[in-house]
C-alpha cells in the first residue's frame, strides 16, 4: 500500500481527519450491529434453510465487530488487525458480490455481501475503501508510545505523533 505522505504543513488539519475517522467508526458500528442482528435472526430463526449462507453472515458480523473495535484502539497491533479485517471485508464483498451476480443460485439467501451489499445501500462496498484510505493516512503509534498521554506540543525530531482514534479529540 502506498504510504500517503503527510507533510508537516498539513498537521493543522489533522484533527479534522481524525474527526472524519469518528464518523467512519460510527458507520462501522452501525454495520456491525446490522450484520449481527441479521445473522442472529437467520441462525435462531431458520438456520437449517441455508447453513452456509448464514454462517457466512455470522462470520461477516464478527469481522465487522472486530474491525470496529480495531479502529477505535491505538497501537500497531490494532492497526494491523484493522487492516486485516477491512481487507477481508473488501475481499468478501467483492467475491460474494460477484458470485451472487453470476450465479444467484449459490446464495439464494441474502448475506450482507450479496449483490455487493445492495440490501445495505452498498455501504459494505464503499466502507472498506474509506477504511483503507483512512488507515493509510493514519499510521500506527510506536509500541513505546502506547501508554503515554499524547502531549499537545509538536514533536521536533520524531515522526509526527500518531493519529489513531483514541479519545480526547475535542
Amino acid at each position: 500500500m502506498i504510504e500517503v505522505l503527510r507533510p508537516r504543513a498539513v498537521s493543522r488539519s489533522r484533527p479534522r481527519v481524525r474527526g472524519i475517522g469518528r464518523v467512519l467508526i460510527a458507520v462501522y458500528g452501525v454495520l456491525a450491529l446490522a450484520a449481527t442482528g441479521r445473522s442472529f435472526v437467520q441462525i435462531v430463526g431458520k438456520f437449517d434453510q441455508a447453513p452456509l449462507a448464514y454462517l457466512l453472515s455470522a462470520l461477516a458480523a464478527v469481522v465487522y465487530i472486530v474491525a470496529t473495535i480495531a479502529l477505535t484502539q491505538p497501537g500497531r497491533i490494532w492497526h494491523t488487525v484493522a487492516w486485516a479485517t477491512i481487507s477481508f471485508e473488501m475481499l468478501g464483498v467483492l467475491v460474494v458480490g460477484t458470485l451472487s451476480l453470476l450465479d444467484p443460485g449459490l446464495f439464494p439467501h441474502d448475506t450482507v455481501w450479496s449483490m455487493f451489499g445492495r440490501g445495505y445501500l452498498f455501504i459494505p462496498l464503499v466502507i472498506p475503501v474509506l477504511g483503507m484510505i483512512w488507515l493509510s493516512r493514519n499510521p500506527p503509534e510506536g509500541p513505546e508510545s502506547n501508554h503515554t498521554e499524547p502531549t499537545h506540543t509538536e514533536p521536533t525530531h520524531t515522526a509526527p505523533t500518531p493519529t489513531a482514534p483514541t479519545h480526547g479529540d475535542a
Binding site: R22, L33, G37, F40, V44, G45
Partner: protein, 122 residues
C-alpha cells in the same frame, strides 16, 4: 404497528437525520437542537415499542417474522442512545454528523420494520 404513526416516525427520523448531518458538516457541535431531535427520534421509538407490543392484543398482528421485527426495533432503540452519549462525551462537529447518521439509520430500519409487519407474510 399503526401505519400513520410509522410514516410520521420515518418522516421525523429522516428530517432529524438530514438536519444533523447538514449542521454537522457546517461545523456545529452538538446543540440542544440536534440532541433534542435525536432524543425525539428515540422517544418515538419507545412509543413504537409500546404500540408494537400492545397491537396484537387488539388484533393488529405482524404478517412477517416477529423475531426479525424486534431485532430491528431493539437495535434501533440502541442507536440514538449510543450516539447521544457519544455526542455528550465528544463535543465536535463530527458527533453531530454521527447523530444524523444514527437518525437516518433509524429511518431505514423503521421502513424495513414496516415491510416486515405489513408486507412480508401477506
Amino acid at each position: 404497528m399503526i401505519a400513520w404513526f410509522l410514516i410520521a416516525q420515518i418522516a421525523i427520523a429522516t428530517a432529524a437525520g438530514v438536519l444533523c448531518v447538514i449542521l454537522g458538516l457546517m461545523g456545529r457541535k452538538p446543540t440542544d437542537l440536534t440532541m433534542g431531535a435525536t432524543a425525539l427520534v428515540w422517544l418515538l421509538l419507545l412509543a413504537q415499542l409500546v404500540v408494537s407490543v400492545l397491537a396484537p392484543v387488539f388484533g393488529n398482528r405482524a404478517t412477517g417474522s416477529l423475531l426479525e421485527f424486534y431485532v430491528y426495533l431493539i437495535s434501533a432503540v440502541l442507536l440514538p442512545v449510543g450516539t447521544g452519549f457519544w455526542a455528550l462525551i465528544e463535543r465536535t462537529r463530527w458527533s453531530t454528523v454521527i447523530l444524523g447518521a444514527a437518525c437516518l439509520s433509524v429511518a431505514i430500519m423503521l421502513y424495513r420494520m414496516g415491510q416486515i409487519w405489513f408486507v412480508q407474510g401477506a
